[in-house]
Symmetry: C2
Subunit: 189 residues, 2 copies
């Protein structure tokens, strides 16, 4: 995925030594053909796992999770943040801080779309501190669903998220790994 | 799209005579193959319009807008709700009420991903009162972008959204039209 590294170098905006803005290619605008390539790659890596559902969280992860689910031929579930009028009460929820939003949110998955018969791969666009991912993992545990692994497009490996998930013994896959944003420059592993 | 009508009848939950919960197939879980069929249908209807970008708003519209953009071979832009740490200041924003969320939100599109060279199709999952769609249309006007039309999967034709958009002289396309939710029953046009 050298093309993805090139695009990140070209279009990513380093906001601080912790924060990379990828609006041009992941968080606000996406190139569907590139996202399909990434989805195919995740599907290849998790093909043997007999996945029954792809899970992500709104919003930036939806496109790549959709592409992965399409390739695997299984449904996509996207966890919601906060309660909306049309979410029924029968949900699993977890309260998580959000690094990029700077706030605490509740993430919700309806019991009607996830259960103990499911083998799930968790897909997201980017992992920093991993709070949302760990919240989803707790929801999967409570649902009794089996977590086959986690796939993220961009791993900021200088932050704790990916490491803490691997330390739980969970398979963790990423497409590109960024080891530093120091000096306003994206440095890959 | 008789299959979609069948699925709505089977899995849609009528919450009131105004609100239909489609968590099982549109708002929380999606079948990627079905969404691709819908994306192909929107692409077919708007193929002649020389669309340069598909625009939607997070979150439920992203999957079908992605499928449409993939088929048309153009980028997908998803408008954000509220301001996050990684959205730069150079944005168009509009304040809109949200029917399903029961709150007022700001919708944002970065000036870096939309401009006066763009020919845009607006895609969303469902239209009720059309507040979000009208907000996006105002943003397109301010960006100087050309709106080729609006496509939504489910039109609740007993609410004002679709009608007010058509009355502005804007092409409006929907896959299924629901004329009533009275008596807890989904009635199609």
């Amino acid at each position: 995925m050298d093309i993805l590294k090139q695009l990140i170098t070209q279009h990513g905006i380093v906001m601080s030594n912790q924060t990379l803005q990828l609006d041009a290619l992941l968080n606000h605008q996406v190139d569907p053909a590139l996202i399909m390539q990434i989805g195919k790659e995740f599907a290849r890596r998790f093909r043997e796992e007999e996945v029954t559902k792809v899970l992500t969280i709104e919003s930036s992860g939806i496109a790549v999770a959709f592409a992965t689910a399409l390739e695997l031929g299984v449904p996509l579930v996207f966890a919601r943040r906060k309660k909306t009028l049309t979410t029924d009460g029968d949900v699993w929820s977890e309260r998580v801080p959000s690094f990029t939003k700077g706030i605490v949110t509740d993430i919700l998955v309806s019991k009607s779309v996830l259960g103990d018969q499911d083998r799930v791969v968790l897909i997201d666009d980017i992992i920093a501190n991993g709070d949302a991912a760990r919240g989803l993992i707790r929801i999967l545990e409570r649902a009794g669903a089996y977590l086959t692994g986690v796939g993220v497009v961009v791993e900021k490996s200088f932050q704790a998220g990916a490491r803490t998930i691997r330390e739980q013994g969970i398979r963790f896959e990423s497409i590109v790994q960024i080891k530093s944003l120091d000096g306003g420059k994206v440095e890959f592993e």
